[in-house]
């Protein structure tokens, strides 16, 4: 399942980039994220309540940030399992400086296994796109709020 898109943020890449790697920011921006603890270099153990409508899964797993090129790009890998199924994904995130600030490009692939794949296949693409959109929407709010103070 492909997940691609972009998001525009007001601050310049140098302000945006550190926040993208800051667990405190990530925990607030990843929809339904309730725990984000550093386990080892670039690896966080996480608890994410994700789902759509009445269907919620508590995904226990890890987020790994790697191939960090300061202020330019990095790779985020996510793996989690819940009673409704497993979710694995990886995306490369690139920052592009624009006149109005930063444009973030994200391109990734996600795999879902188990019950939610076999029952919800018609909804998964939309759910994945929504999670990505919500992440960058809350990131924009987060980043805008901080830079204004």
């Amino acid at each position: 399942m492909k997940i691609t898109g972009s998001a525009d943020l007001a601050p310049a890449p140098e302000d945006v980039f550190p926040r993208l790697l800051d667990p405190a920011v990530l925990i607030r921006c990843i929809p339904g994220c309730e725990k984000m603890e550093l386990v080892s270099e670039g690896v966080y153990s996480t608890l994410v309540r994700a789902g759509v409508g009445p269907v919620k899964g508590e995904f226990v797993g890890e987020v790994t940030l790697s191939d960090v090129v300061d202020r330019e790009s990095y790779r985020m890998a996510v793996a989690g399992k819940s009673a409704v199924g497993h979710a694995n994904g990886a995306a490369t995130i690139k920052l592009e400086a624009t006149e109005s600030g930063t444009r973030i490009h994200y391109a990734g692939d996600a795999q879902v296994a188990g019950l939610i794949a076999s029952v919800g296949s018609r909804l998964l693409q939309s759910v994945a796109n929504k999670i990505a959109r919500d992440f960058f929407k809350s990131l924009a709010v987060e980043v805008a709020a901080e830079s204004s103070t």
């Binding site: 759509v52 409508g53 009445p54 269907v55 919620k56 009673a83 409704v84 019950l115 939610i116 029952v119 919800g120 296949s121 018609r122 909804l123 693409q125 939309s126 759910v127 929504k130």
Partner: protein
């Protein structure tokens, strides 16, 4: 096949029901017909701690004419709406749409309110609600509020009902007369849900369309009104080619869903074709006075 354990409560009054939802928050789920919730419980996709059954709130099941409007209780089953004399008389699009839902068993138990709050992108009711400009009446901790159909269907399996709020009724004003209506749907062959469906409520003026309200379901993440098509139809002629031209943009400006049953191109095409067929069927029925 076996849900997780949960507590079951059947409140005697609406206030008690709202209080219960308030108390348990996200951990509580409302049960009316069960056609949306119970499959999720059985597959363990939903795991509520508390199920609040509204079966004792009998007045939620009533369907009444109130002057120029029709009040439909959220707990009315699809079959009750289908066979309701008041609906047939004042707003036959409701009965026609109800008849297209699921199967006999689902129509006997599933409720209009349950379906609307569940907001499946391929459910039939949302299209009719938009075409009729219905209003959803929600009761919650802050009392009652009304939400127009346009604002009620927010996203994928997501309605405007906030946690703790209960959809108690649907208010439909009698469509502007002389009226013409039709619902045309292409069902997904396994589930019976709409690959695409178009509900149309027109007001005719001689041989032109005075007003056109259309609801399209199954095509996007939630039901929507194809504004361009409505505008193109309004004031337009009733002949097939004018209608066809007007309906061409039925999927414009919408992110069309795609799955193993239908690709985006085909689904977008269905939006136009089914809207056209619904409009023409409505007109023909109004002129032919067929039932």
């Amino acid at each position: 096949m076996i849900p997780t354990s949960f507590d079951y409560v059947a409140p005697e009054s609406l206030d008690e029901a709202v209080a219960l939802l308030q108390k348990h928050g996200d951990d509580a789920k409302v049960l009316t017909g069960g056609q949306s919730l119970i499959p999720l419980l059985r597959l363990r996709l939903a795991r509520p701690g508390v199920v609040v059954d509204l079966r004792k709130l009998s007045d939620l099941g009533r369907i009444e004419s109130a002057g120029e409007a029709l009040e439909i209780g959220a707990a009315a089953t699809h079959a009750e709406v289908m066979n309701s004399a008041a609906a047939l008389e004042k707003c036959p699009l409701l009965s026609e749409t109800a008849g297209e839902i699921g199967d006999v068993q689902v129509r006997n138990t599933g409720t209009i309110g349950g379906s609307l709050v569940h907001a499946d992108p391929a459910a039939d009711w949302p299209a009719a609600m938009l075409a009729l400009g219905a209003t959803m009446v929600l009761s919650g901790p802050q009392g009652e509020r009304a939400v127009a159909a346009e604002d009620f269907f927010v996203g994928l399996l997501e309605s405007a009902a906030q946690p703790g709020e209960i959809l108690t009724g649907i208010r439909v004003t009698v469509p502007r007369q002389p009226a013409a209506r039709a619902y045309r749907k292409l069902a997904q062959s396994a589930s019976g849900f709409a690959l695409a469906g178009a509900a149309v409520q027109l007001a005719l003026d001689g041989d032109t369309i005075a007003e056109a309200r259309i609801g399209i379901t199954g095509v996007a993440e939630h039901a929507y009104r194809p504004r361009e098509v409505e505008a193109a139809l309004t004031g337009g002629a009733l002949d097939a080619s004018s209608v066809e031209t007007a309906c061409a943009s039925a999927a414009e400006g919408v992110e069309v869903l795609e799955d193993i049953h239908a690709g985006a191109a085909y689904r977008g095409h269905l939006a136009s074709v089914l809207t056209k067929r619904a409009v023409l069927a409505a007109i023909e029925r109004a002129h032919g006075h067929a039932s």
